[in-house]
Amino acid sequence: MDKSLHVVLMYGLTQLGFIFFFYSGDIISSTTEGHWLAIVIGLVLNLVMVWLYMKGLGYFPKQDIISIYSAVGKWAAVLFLLPLVFFLFITNIITIRAFSEVITLVFLANTPLWAIMALIITLSGYIALNGVESIFRTGVLLAILFLPVILFTICISFQNVDFRYFFPVMDEKFSFLARPPYWHSFAAFAGSFLFLGFIQPYVAYRPKYVLMTVAALVPFYFIAVYVPLFTFGQATASTFKFPFIVLMSTIHINWLMFDRITMFLLLCLVTFTMLFISMVLWKLSQVLHRCLPKVKPSYFVIAIAAANFIGCLFITNWDEIQSLVMWNTMLRFFVMVGIPCSIWLLGIRAKRMIKDEGA
């Protein structure tokens, strides 16, 4: 049964949260001119990796990456899956902690941080407990409910733009490549497409549609970076941690009964991020379940969620999140480049072996 729509929506939704929260800030602070170049390089890398990943997975129908690596040997499973587990775990902690921080900053100043983190983790854990198909169905419902709101807020975000801020066009030195914020911007890509390798045994999808989604998301990357730039200018925009969120606070619409449109954008993105967190929880539980088959996956979900919560409690301020993001950089690039490439190479090898056997 073809469920491309579910997969595509899941992929798109989980990306949107990262794009409007972290991506815009990272790119704006990584360079002072020619942001489009920075975005395009990231997008091309992302597209190539997604393409390789799916090409590689195409050689192993109905298998997830855990069984692909296990089939090669124990060393491959440890080499690739162990960093993956660490990466996903840390990503979850960072995501939960960072989103809770933003929520307290923007509109729940009196609510303790742990309460918000507990809410996010509990809900994500509940979604993950229901299994992967249920995660996808939840994604579809959330898309129906909240995607229109997001599109509406994006449309009205153009209220105060000044297109002259597009210049200067070029950064000839490519100086952004060496800046840490630019490396962080890849967080928007890295975590999102990995799930494609986990769901093959459960859900069928067509790679063509996933690539189309990657293409359809391109405008959002540009909007997330350029609309704050056009509104505030580089000098001002680079002082904000979350330029797009600040931008939304400046929008004023006469006929709307609400004063702060930020709230709607932010909250809809938070719901999408809950979906992302639940997906990560599910992925982690799958990997761990393969290591210890006797324990039910649902126990792993609960245990990982609890561990994530405790991990989040240990982070006391924003700088610690930043340093955690920094440590995660190595893992991120390993996961983002290493896993798709290795799956692709293994796929080619497997194909050749089948051919040899046939001959």
């Binding site: 609510t111 918000i116 809900l123 509940y126 409910l145 004063d259």
Partner: protein, 444 residues
């Protein structure tokens, strides 16, 4: 054979509505046995005699006469008792010592086919199901004239027998689903089925699901529509409705009868119901969130108006909201309990309390009354009473979460409900399926 009669006398003779009657049919002397409360004895006897008068035998012997009366059958005591309970007449030929099972005129224990009591129909067929299962199936057969419609009947229960019938359209229904349902019913045929909770258990479904597993309907038109969409329908004797299995989320918003309107109007009406459900869920939560936690989201003018209307209200918004919601639920419950003649009293008293007195007494704010009215009205736009109950329950989840986390809680509550709904499935078919055409049972 006399011992058999004696056995029946022993086990059923203490019922005052059980009769043994000596009778002469033609030349044979017989004993008629049955329940007077289930059989119209006078008409049955008339029919027996008329039958004998018109009887032109090929061969003039007792056995051909017996065949003319009914089915000649060897049976044991428990089988005979089941037949009696089913309203059959047993004729005992004294000289031949043979039992004959005869169809009797049933005494009329059913109401006539009437218009539905729980569902309103605009511009559509208004005859609704009654308690008699055969009449119901007949109505479905009249509604959808197709040779593909199949009926399977089962007898459930060991102490108390209950007739169940499964109706499906073999050209549309997924054969795997039908096989699963039949297997499940057969495997739990010893369980008593007296209500829908029993039935849910007998079908092996979770009894703790807040969303009903069956979509109940009183209208043959809806059942016919469901059959064409590949659902299966269960009828239970003495239940004046059909149970459409599985229940899907879109049933909350769509009626087969909507298709009697032009297409654009149908779409608008259905959208209106979607808006109704969303309003029910969101409105009370949004009030609590905006008043108690996040007033800064509102325009300053609006925030001030709300603050003004709440002036003098001595407790937080959540208490105010829960307090009024519960009173409202009590009114709804009371008006369903009361006889129709005193029902309006409750409406009037409730109207006075909710309308003016409670605001004048500064117990709740004006705005809250508006929110409550909007919630209650929009809750009633849902199709099917059983669905509106589930929505009524869900709104409390959102109200409580909104009181804790403000607008974040409101959205988190919606996510929770979405996650809950997507975790539901019946016989492997997700609750969120939109269409149920053949082969799509894996879709979600």
């Amino acid at each position: 054979m006399d011992s058999f009669i004696q056995e029946i006398r022993d086990s059923l003779g203490d019922n005052d509505d059980f009769f043994f009657q000596q009778e002469k049919i033609g030349r044979a002397s017989v004993i008629l046995m049955g329940f007077i409360s289930l059989i119209d004895l006078t008409r049955t006897k008339e029919a027996l005699h008329a039958n004998m008068d018109n009887w032109k035998p090929d061969r003039d012997d007792a056995s051909s006469m017996m065949e003319a009366i009914g089915e000649v059958r060897e049976m044991d005591l428990s089988e005979a008792i089941t037949m009696f309970m089913d309203g059959k007449l047993i004729v005992f030929f004294e000289s031949e010592r043979i039992l004959v099972l005869a169809e009797a005129y049933p005494s009329l224990l059913n109401r006539a086919v009437e218009s539905p009591t729980n569902e309103n129909v605009l511009q559509g067929a208004i005859s609704s199901f009654i308690e008699d299962i055969d009449t119901n199936i007949g109505m479905v057969r009249k509604q959808i004239v197709s040779r593909h419609v199949k009926v399977r009947s089962f007898l459930a229960g060991s102490l108390c027998h209950k007739k169940l019938s499964l109706v499906y359209d073999e050209s549309h229904a997924d054969s795997k689903l039908v096989a699963k349902v039949i297997k499940q019913i057969e495997s739990s045929s010893d369980k008593e089925i007296n209500n829908l909770q029993n039935l849910t258990k007998a079908l092996g479904l979770s009894a703790w699901s807040s969303v009903p597993k069956f979509n109940t309907t009183e209208l043959p038109e809806e059942v016919a529509g469901a059959l064409i969409k590949g659902r299966v329908i269960l009828f239970i004797d003495r239940m004046p409705f059909g149970l459409i299995l599985p229940n899907l989320i879109w049933d909350m918003f769509s009626l087969e009868n909507d298709r009697n309107y032009p297409l654009p109007l149908m779409i608008v009406i259905r959208l209106l119901r979607v808006v109704g459900v969303l309003t029910t869920l969101i409105a009370p939560g949004l009030y609590v969130a905006l008043v108690a936690v996040n007033p800064e989201v509102l325009r300053i003018e609006l925030a001030l108006t709300i603050a003004q209307s709440r002036e003098g209200v001595p407790y937080p918004a959540i208490v105010e909201m829960i307090f009024m919601l519960i009173i409202l639920e009590l009114i709804i419950e009371a008006s369903t309990r009361l006889p129709k003649s005193i029902g309006p009293t409750i409406t009037m008293v409730g109207g006075i309390i909710l309308g003016q007195a409670v605001v004048t007494a500064k117990l709740v704010s004006n705005l809250l009354i508006i929110i409550l009215a909007a919630t209650t009205i929009s809750n009633s736009t849902v199709v099917g009473f059983q669905n509106s109950l589930a929505i009524r329950l869900f709104k409390y989840v959102i109200v409580i979460m909104s009181a804790m986390y403000g607008v974040l809680g409101l959205l988190a509550g919606l996510v929770l409900i979405c996650a809950y709904l997507s975790s539901l499935s019946t016989f492997g078919i997700s609750y969120l399926n939109i269409s149920m055409n053949k082969g799509e049972s894996g879709n979600g």
